[in-house]
């Protein structure tokens, strides 16, 4: 779910070689090269920034803590990774990736143009992945002017297709991220009590995730005195008789997992708790329907059936019912009425249902894997 984006990823900044073995990354490079050949291109250019870098991380395992990075994968040359930072910063970034040729840059156009020329791509067709979504337009125009002979072609769809086949790392790291989320929610249950400061409680919950190796943590809250919608946390003291939603997102070894629970403070708010139970039932229904071969719309229909209330469904739809999650917070497939995306095995889905009714708000959510 979209949340406040921090000024820099300030969690653990390393490569866990056990969770993400080099052999898997090398195999991914070969898959990408096969896709480049199939597309008839000479190379693909991957772009990512601190908010969305899944495509870039898929092959390189690099993630920008701040600003951006660019990866060039050519058919007949070793890959080159550009990282945003002064040359003196490059040695500290190299341990994050297996790409041998890592270069620092301030603004991408000139060094990228030089690289494309150096690798004899100046008259070739080069596919782009992540460029449309995130590459700054003014800089992209500048690059185009510097290498007028290159024909760029967007390959986001082809890359997304390739990503649908999950490997051991996709499955293993997602499970790890989901596991530490469960630990954080367990701690939340002990901290979110009458009289507790939300600031202290959320800081302690985030600490649990960061000590477990999280690279990034996102928190939203809502319900109770905060109103019915999710929002960035506000400092206040929790009161007995309210119920609050807690949404957590965590990134670990480049993979995201999300979850949401509603906590009764003291005895809680009966109206909100009843909503939370309905939200949980809808999430459970979607999770049960998440099997290989079904469309995203089938999961949405399962939620609709479980809710059995048009007003509640409308409230939930404002937040969406879910989406794929992994190297990016939002990935294929879409979980929505009308979604024709067909689920594939091993795909991680972030399912969530946020409900409101009058002055009460509640929600539930979890990350599941398509069976």
């Amino acid at each position: 779910m979209q949340t406040v984006h921090s000024v820099i990823k300030h969690g653990a900044f390393y490569w866990d070689h056990e969770l993400v073995p080099l052999a898997v990354l090398e195999a991914r490079l070969e898959k990408v090269r096969a896709a480049i050949r199939a597309a008839g291109d000479a190379a693909w250019l991957f772009y990512g920034d601190a908010r969305s870098c899944g495509a870039l991380a898929y092959v390189s395992h690099y993630f920008p803590r701040l600003r951006d990075a660019v990866l060039l994968v050519a058919l007949d040359a070793p890959p080159v990774l550009f990282v945003n930072g002064a040359p003196r910063m490059v040695p500290s970034m190299k341990p994050l990736t297996w790409i041998a040729d890592v270069r620092g840059f301030g603004r991408p156009p000139k060094p990228l143009a030089a690289l494309l020329t150096e690798t004899n791509l100046a008259g070739a067709r080069v596919g782009t992945v992540g460029v449309a979504e995130s590459f700054p337009a003014l800089e992209w125009n500048e690059l185009g002017a510097l290498v007028p002979g290159i024909a760029f072609a967007e390959r986001d769809a082809e890359f997304a297709q390739l990503r649908r086949e999950k490997d051991a790392v996709d499955l293993g790291v997602s499970a790890k991220a989901t596991g530490i989320l469960a630990e954080a929610f367990a701690v939340a249950g002990t901290l979110l009590q009458p009289g507790a400061s939300t600031g202290a409680a959320f800081a302690a919950i985030e600490r649990v995730l960061r000590l477990a190796g999280a690279e990034d943590v996102r928190i939203l809250t809502g319900g109770g005195a905060d109103g019915t919608d999710l929002a960035p946390p506000v400092e206040r003291v929790l009161a007995a008789g309210e119920s609050i939603m807690l949404f957590l997102g965590v990134e670990m070894q480049r993979y995201w997992a999300e979850g949401m629970r509603t906590f009764a403070i003291g005895a809680g708010n009966p109206q909100a708790d009843a909503l939370a139970a309905r939200a949980q039932a809808a999430v459970d229904a979607m999770a049960a329907a998440a099997v290989t071969g079904v469309r995203g719309s089938v999961l949405a229909a399962a939620a609709q059936t479980a809710l059995a209330d048009d007003a509640l469904l409308a409230a939930a739809s404002a937040y969406g019912l879910g989406h794929g999650i992994g190297l990016d917070v939002h990935e294929w497939p879409s979980i929505a009425a009308g979604s024709r995306d067909v689920l594939t095995p091993g795909t991680a889905l972030a399912l969530h249902v946020v409900l409101k009714n009058g002055s009460a708000g509640a929600g539930a959510g979890r990350t599941v894997v398509v069976r």
Binding site: S6, A12, V131
Partner: protein, 379 residues
């Protein structure tokens, strides 16, 4: 963490900022100012949308400020509209999914080439720009908003002061927690948790350790060892306003070279502070720091590729440019900076010292209060 307290920037103040921007628009013949933030916050770049709304955007947002009439705030994701309406009085709020919002903004700006100007346009993606036609034809607002935002109001200064208090608290936590065998990211987590619990809503946090670091970097899984210099660039934000504290902590008794080099940093900071007076150039601050370190015999390491800036503006991101000896602007009372003569030394590794200051008539007033000294703990 957002806190409702006396540090509220009033609606009148935010309205006043927009009115000052409108006055500047008139003098620059701008009929509509389109202010964009892509939802990514960056301590080193100013966030003009936050300055004109006091609203922390979650997703890509636009504020269209006409020369006359109510501004319009376009918000994504759509479900964030209630928060936007509650936070930003005096504007119309339109919320939706990103592409729907881009269509609306594109329609609103259609036919305004030459009369509209864009602020924050360097963050527009290739996809987003497609909705705006030829963005190279749109005027850029340049530093129109940054000029107005450079001098802080009392409420902005109060937020920066609170952020500075939190930074001091963060470094105190670092000194308290750091121990041999702990991973760098675990130490960073402890510092972060202490600052978040104290009200920080964000942190540009870098903590690194080693016997001979070449530069500051992010916290890794490396375990702390006896004799490590732990350097911290601790930059909490309080309600959107940053303050930065740079310090060095040694696990064990510091080597003589670490001590003597750190003494150079203390002198460099003192010399830099002496130049931080209204009317002087920011370049003079950087030059003074470089001169002090050069006097110790390390002049060649004061230039790229080793070092570049000696600080930068702070507040709603980097409002003022870097403190660069070759390029400066005139200082004014009420500006806030971090002045940091952080330095790579070939014989002691990278050491850090820096403080957030506000420029006042008599000189800079440090907002961070941690003593400018080399901290260490015996093993």
């Amino acid at each position: 963490m957002i806190v409702d307290d006396r540090l509220d920037v009033t609606a009148a103040e935010v309205h006043g900022r927009r009115e000052r921007v409108r006055a500047a628009m008139t003098s620059e013949r701008i009929a509509t100012l389109a202010v964009y933030n892509n939802g990514q916050h960056d301590m080193t770049r100013m966030d003009p949308l936050f300055y004109l709304t006091d609203f922390y955007c979650i997703g890509p947002c636009w504020l269209l400020v006409p020369a006359a009439g109510r501004p319009v705030l376009y918000v994504t994701p759509g479900w964030d509209a209630p928060r936007a309406r509650a936070t930003v009085p005096g504007v119309d709020v339109i919320a939706g999914d990103p592409d729907a919002i881009l269509r609306l903004v594109g329609d609103a700006l259609a036919g305004t080439v030459g009369t509209a100007a864009l602020s924050g346009g360097d963050a527009l993606s290739v996809h987003a720009a497609r909705y705006l036609g030829d963005i190279t034809a749109l005027r850029t607002a340049g530093d129109l908003i940054a000029r107005i935002a450079a001098v802080k109001s009392p409420a902005e200064l109060a937020r920066t002061e609170r952020a500075a208090e939190i930074a001091d608290l963060g470094f105190a936590r670092l000194r308290e927690c750091a121990r041999t065998g702990m991973r760098e990211f675990e130490l960073a987590a402890e510092v972060e948790a202490a600052m978040k619990a104290a009200g920080a809503d964000d942190n540009f946090g870098l903590i690194a350790a080693g016997p001979d670091l070449s530069a500051i970097r992010s916290a890794t899984d490396r375990r702390l060892e006896p004799g490590d210099s732990i350097v911290g660039e601790i930059t909490p934000a309080y309600r959107g306003y940053h303050a930065q504290l740079c310090r060095t902590f040694v696990l064990g008794e510091p080597r003589p070279k670490v001590r003597s080099n750190f003494d150079l940093l203390i002198d460099a900071e003192r010399q830099a502070f002496a130049q931080a007076l209204p009317g002087r150039s920011t370049a003079e601050i950087a030059a003074a720091a470089n001169d002090a370190i050069s006097a110790g015999g390390y002049g060649e390491f004061c230039r790229p590729p080793y070092m570049r800036t000696r600080g930068h503006g702070l507040g709603v991101g980097g409002v003022i440019p870097d403190l660069d000896p070759d390029d400066g602007i005139a200082l004014e009372a009420g500006m806030t900076f971090v002045i940091h003569p952080n330095q790579y030394f070939p014989d002691s590794g990278y050491l850090m010292l820096g403080d957030t200051v506000v420029i006042e008539r008599g000189g800079p007033r440090p907002l961070t209060k941690t003593p400018a000294t080399l901290f260490w703990r015996p093993l």
